[in-house]
Symmetry: C2
Subunit: 85 residues, 2 copies
């Protein structure tokens, strides 16, 4: 069975995010002065084969920890859904 | 009122994603051979002040189109929720 995993990787709150500061500054310059905070992270979509949702979920968790994120400075969250064809 | 917007920016399906190919290749090397497709995009969190959800939503849509994504090669989607303090 095929599963679609959506993984969001974000910098931990305590970690400085220069890219977010740059985007916020650009938005302010463009007139969007009501934007108070911007954080930039990564977004990944993976399609994987697994017997059931629990197995898919466990594997996505493991891959996120081992490769997709840097646990020292980043957090991750993910959701799993059945993939179309 | 404060709103938290979560924006996902992804490459259009037809656009080559070398970063995704690299991640997929790394995962295969690590033994995750059941991973069939990986696409890498950006994930942004923005906090903004707006009178109501519709205004916040319209502004996030506009900012995504004008700055956060490149409409030629990227798609975006977003969700809006009330922000904590």
């Amino acid at each position: 069975m095929k599963w679609l995993a959506k993984v969001e990787v974000t910098l931990k709150q305590a970690v400085l995010d220069p890219q977010g500061v740059a985007v916020e500054s650009s938005l302010t310059t463009m007139g969007y002065e009501n934007v108070k905070r911007v954080r930039v992270g990564k977004y990944l979509e993976l399609v994987l084969e697994a017997a059931d949702r629990d197995k898919a979920s466990a594997q996505v968790e493991e891959m996120s920890r081992r490769l997709l994120s840097n646990p020292v400075i980043e957090d991750f969250s993910y959701s799993i859904q059945e993939a179309g064809v």
